[in-house]
Symmetry: C2
Subunit: 198 residues, 2 copies
């Protein structure tokens, strides 16, 4: 706000967050200065602690505030299957389906020559070294169904197949609840190609 | 994120902000834990300072980090005209037009029986006591052109008119750049009623 340095500063900091434009940042800033002091303190502390306590799991690359993440440190998880995802948010999405009981490997990105990200810039080497132990029987490639995700999945599958480990890719198709009429051609093509006997 | 208390906590705090749903809060939380520590510290400090340093101007109710706000403490502003607005954000909007050089009075809300807000719950009494000093010649009612804003403006104008002070209301009409075809009936009616000779 014109003339109020502390609000200007707060607006500036908030507008650096993804998806928060100048107007939204200003609206949030005005809201924050009107919040009870205790709530503001809780917010600031949560932000600071979030950063301070959370780090990457040294095994799978997932986010955790423990030594290794909750999945890696859970002995009841199936140690023979690893689901490879782009980032920790995808682990979250997979865990929500409550149907997968294996391990994860978080790449921390996907191969994207346009953005200067090559195979050595994401955690592929770490994946290969985990596979070297011999206990993993299947790798599920669950990168996004976009150009970079496909390229990354195909790159990794070429590396793993010679090791005799089963490599699978999540299915692409018409989303549940979706309508054929509004489905783009590529998704529909994938849905057709992936058809199964009923 | 499932199992990471610090991220859950951060997501919860962020989702309490207006316009930030659970999904956006989670996206922001993941972004924040991936930010450089220095940037996170800056964000947390800006939030905390925003609250700590900013308070209401004792004269007009605007937000400020000084004793009185930048408008009230500026002797070059026209002390004979007061623009009455709902909240500090509206002061900001008015200042952007760079055409108004008078003072403000921030009500901190509008009369809204539905929400249990009566005339005594907003800063009307403070406005009346400012007017009592005799130096103010015109009050511009710039509350929003909605039901509550209109009701508040009409309530205040009834209080002030007997004092012999000029009371005006900002014009309602078709927005500049707007099209008649897409203008709602009430705005169009106001635009018609407010027509002026050219």
């Amino acid at each position: 706000m014109a003339g109020v340095e502390a609000i200007e500063q707060l607006t500036h900091q908030l507008s650096r967050l993804p998806g928060i434009g100048r107007k939204t940042a200003q609206r949030l800033a005005f809201h924050i200065v009107s919040m009870p002091e205790e709530e503001v303190r809780e917010l600031a502390v949560a932000i600071f602690n979030g950063k301070k306590k959370v780090h990457f799991c040294p095994v799978c690359g997932n986010l955790t505030d423990m030594e290794t993440c909750s999945v890696c440190s859970d002995p009841s998880r199936d140690q023979s299957i690893v689901c490879v995802v782009k980032d920790a948010r995808d682990v979250n999405a997979m865990e929500r389906i409550r149907d997968y009981n294996g391990l994860y490997h978080v790449l921390g990105g996907v191969i994207s020559p346009m953005d200067g990200v090559g195979p050595d810039d994401i955690r592929i080497r770490e994946l290969m070294s985990r596979l070297g132990s011999g206990s993993i029987k299947e790798v599920v490639l669950a990168t996004n169904p976009d150009v970079e995700g496909e390229a990354t999945a195909s790159y990794i599958s070429r590396l793993i197949k010679p090791m005799g480990i089963r490599v699978t890719r999540i299915a692409h198709g018409v989303p549940v609840g979706g309508e054929l009429e509004y489905t783009d051609e590529i998704t529909l093509m994938r849905a057709f190609q992936g058809r199964r006997e009923v």
